[in-house]
């Protein structure tokens, strides 16, 4: 440990631990994924667990909530040793887990979802009224204004997350474990959720909070436990623990900066640089209204905004993946119109989807077929496949993008999130795009990989390509981009550059209808 000594949390505090874990370890078929982890959760305290992907956070959380049984170590509930054989037993003991993914049935109502599997019945007949009332009370308690009779498919993502929390909180809860609850939310949906979690703490619930977003941890946590490679780095008092410090502890080395050095602004020559991609009067029914934008040669242009602001849909429309109309689209000055991603790729426009598992990679397929899938005609110009040539391309991608893999024969789904993202980048780059659109470049990947991806984006631009980065992480856009456009409700609501690129300005543009280019624009 190169980290300077930090304030260790005092061994004894006023509140006795509700749930305590001692020397927990977990092996999966001989592979140790977690060893010797000890921590305690106290009533009225938020205990954050941070660590990179694969550090063992999810395993720890599953051990605590009865989804997994520890290979070694003991859990103590109110000081007495317990062993949970199923999540139901942990639930009965007052330990609830709020899953990271939204696990709700779209076609059922909010009430039905909350009571699924534990319906209230009288003489075998469902007591709808009692369930509705209980659901309403539970929702009101966490400040969720959704109707208990609404269908889940009709409510927003943020509200679904709240319904999921209400479902977890149903019954008496003493310990609530949140697994990256804000991962699917956008910036201004996060605040109310954090308030709810703080409110739970005030009511004396012991909270375990797992998150990638270190600023949230800094804001919320009382104590922080850091995991690295399945081992405990330590438990620290959150006071005085900066996000930078947390990142260093997680990675095990000091972090100067996550972002590569900015380009020389003179090189971009402001508005004088020729436009690489111009979009005029884009309409995507239901998502985008009359959007025009221009990407300059050699520029990294950020697109900020909330989920649902129409950012992804704008570019899916551009590539012909969904119905859209355009006043004009010009690529390096030439008018173009794409009906499919293949046409766009042929003209040098590449798009990296935000959903790498659902739309980017074939998880059950090996790496080489994944790499070349979008460039089959380019890579195998003859009718038959050139498998040796393909293997060489994979070698080059593995080396060039630093894809870490155990075996060449691995399937894409076996790579870590960060390496999947690098493979996806390599896949899109096989078509040698001059304009690259990257949607959520670092969603759900760890800090070391993030930093690498930023460096790749920067170097692609240095090679003379131009890049649009869509992201819900404002810091990422501010750290990486030369200019940021902020979308709100299907329109561009502001343009920020230079010193004006601040979180508060981005947030303001993303949420306020009053914001416009004049009031915020310019360095």
């Amino acid at each position: 440990m190169t980290a300077a000594p930090l304030t260790r949390a005092p061994a004894e505090t006023a509140a006795a631990p509700v749930l305590r874990a001692e020397h927990l370890a977990k092996e999966f078929s001989g592979v140790r994924v977690l060893s010797d982890v000890s921590l305690d959760l106290r009533a009225g305290e938020i205990h954050a667990v941070i660590g990179e992907n694969g550090a063992g956070k999810s395993t720890l959380m599953r051990l605590l909530s009865g989804y997994l049984k520890p290979s070694e170590g003991t859990l103590f509930l109110d000081g007495a040793p317990v062993a949970f054989h199923a999540p139901k037993e942990a639930q009965a003991a007052g330990i609830a887990l709020v899953h990271q993914e939204i696990l709700l049935a779209d076609a059922l109502t909010v009430t039905e979802n909350i009571f699924i599997g534990r319906e209230i019945a009288r003489f075998g007949r469902l007591d709808e009224r009692a369930m509705r009332a209980a659901a309403a009370a539970q929702l009101a308690e966490i400040g969720c204004k959704v109707s208990p009779t609404a269908l889940v498919r009709d409510i927003s993502l943020a509200n679904r997350q709240l319904v999921q929390i209400a479902k977890a909180l149903l019954g008496t809860q003493r310990v609530v474990i949140f697994d990256e609850p804000t991962a699917v939310l956008t910036h201004d949906e996060v605040d109310p959720l954090l308030d709810i979690i703080a409110e739970l703490r005030a009511r004396g619930v012991a909270i375990l909070y797992i998150s990638h977003r270190l600023d949230e941890v800094e804001r919320l946590a009382d104590r922080v436990t850091v995991l690295r490679d399945g081992r405990m780095v330590g438990t620290y008092d959150a006071k005085g623990l900066t996000p930078q410090r947390m990142a260093s502890l997680m990675v095990g080395r000091e972090f100067a900066s996550l972002y590569p050095a900015r380009q020389d602004p003179a090189r971009l020559a402001g508005a004088d640089a020729a436009p690489a991609l111009e979009i005029e009067n884009a309409h995507v029914p239901g998502f985008v209204r009359d959007v025009s934008l221009s990407l300059r040669e050699g520029e990294i242009l950020g697109l900020a905004g909330m989920i649902g602001a129409g950012r992804t849909e704008l570019f899916e429309g551009l590539l012909g993946l969904r119905p859209a109309t355009f006043g004009a689209v010009r690529l390096h000055g030439e008018p173009v119109h794409f009906h499919s991603p293949a046409q766009a790729a042929a003209r040098g426009v590449g798009y990296l989807t935000e959903d790498r598992k659902g739309k980017g990679l074939l998880l059950d397929e090996k790496l080489a077929p994944n790499l070349t899938l979008a460039a089959l005609d380019r890579v195998h110009p003859a009718g038959g496949l050139d498998l040796a040539g393909e293997a060489r391309l994979l070698d080059r991608a593995v080396a060039g993008y630093d894809i870490r893999l155990r075996s060449r024969e691995a399937k894409a789904g076996q790579l870590s999130g960060g390496n999947q993202q690098k493979l996806l980048l390599a896949k899109v780059m096989l078509n040698e795009p001059t304009v690259l659109i990257i949607d959520e470049p670092t969603r759900g990947i760890d800090i070391a990989n993030k930093s690498q991806i930023y460096a790749f984006i920067q170097s692609l631009v240095r090679e003379g390509r131009s890049c649009i980065v869509i992201s819900s992480e404002m810091q990422e856009l501010i750290g990486l981009c030369d200019r940021i456009l902020v979308m709100r409700a299907g329109r561009i609501n502001g343009e920020l550059a230079g010193a004006a690129m601040t979180e508060s300005n981005v947030a303001l543009c993303a949420t306020s209808s009053a914001a416009n280019e004049q009031s915020l624009g310019g360095p």
């Binding site: 993946l321 499919s340 991603p341 293949a342 046409q343 766009a344 790729a345 798009y351 989807t353 959903d355 659902g358 739309k359 980017g360 990679l361 074939l362 998880l363 059950d364 397929e365 090996k366 080489a368 077929p369 070349t372 899938l373 979008a374 089959l376 005609d377 195998h380 009718g383 038959g384 496949l385 498998l387 040796a388 393909e390 293997a391 060489r392 994979l394 070698d395 593995v398 080396a399 630093d402 870490r404 893999l405 060449r408 024969e409 896949k427």
Partner: protein, 330 residues
Amino acid sequence: MADLAAAPPRASHGWSIGWGDAGPFLALAALVLIGFLINPDFLSANNIANVVTRSAFIAIIAIGATFVIASGGLDLSVGSMAAFITGVTILFMNWAAPSVGTAAIPLGMAVALVTGLACGLLNGTIVTLGRIEPFIATLGTMGIFRALITYMTDGGTVAIDRSLREAYRPVYFGDVLGVPIPILVSLAVALIAAYVLYRTRYGRRCVAVGANEDVARYSGISVARVRTLAFVIQGACVAIAAICYVPRLGAATPTTGVLWELQVITAVVIGGTALRGGRGRVWGTVAGAVILEFIANLMVLSDFVSEYLVAAVQGVIIIIAMLIQRMSKR
């Protein structure tokens, strides 16, 4: 990293067979052994040639089905389609025979092929342009093709013209160097199919569409074109099977090809192709077709189970095969 990057490029599988893919072939070997133990006649060259020849139709059709299923589709209409193509072909040959003589046979084969391609294209466009579930779309065409053959035969049989019978006979009963022609045809179809599926861009796209339609779409693949083409390949395979089948029965009847779809899908599934799409195994499919015919043959040769229960046994096999796929997935 460096050592990995420097690793010599190794061709990924294709012709080679991993342990996971060996299942159908091991099952086939076990079946042959069991057959021999039950009845030594089972292993006579005559019986083996007979059984494999009979399995050829299902094998050829199932090779086509491998493409459809690997691309995430399903074709229930193959049995009716085979009957329909047989009927059209025989009617055409009988009509042409008086004027062109035995030249009616190659012409009839061409008609069969065109009809098969058209039937496949019909299925494919209903599924892709009509955006109808393959299950429902081909359930519909299954009914249509079956009704058409019943209508064409007027509920009875349409036999092939006597003048053509002798000339056409070798297509089923003939052999080259002792190997029956249907076996050679199915081997040729399998070789071509394996090349297309494993070694061409279309094969890659076909499997990608079946594995994840969205990934394929976002990778610039025309999902509709790939799917439609899979159904067209299926149609061509059904036509080839029908061409070989005509001399065996010498007639088309409303019951020709009944329940073939069960045998075809069973052969594909026990061959290791994933029924949900995304993985196709051509040689596994061939093994699957032979396995089915061996089992039917065993039931005839032994007295354990009535041969009337063949379809029931096949039904049981497909369910077991699915269970094995499910468990090996875990």
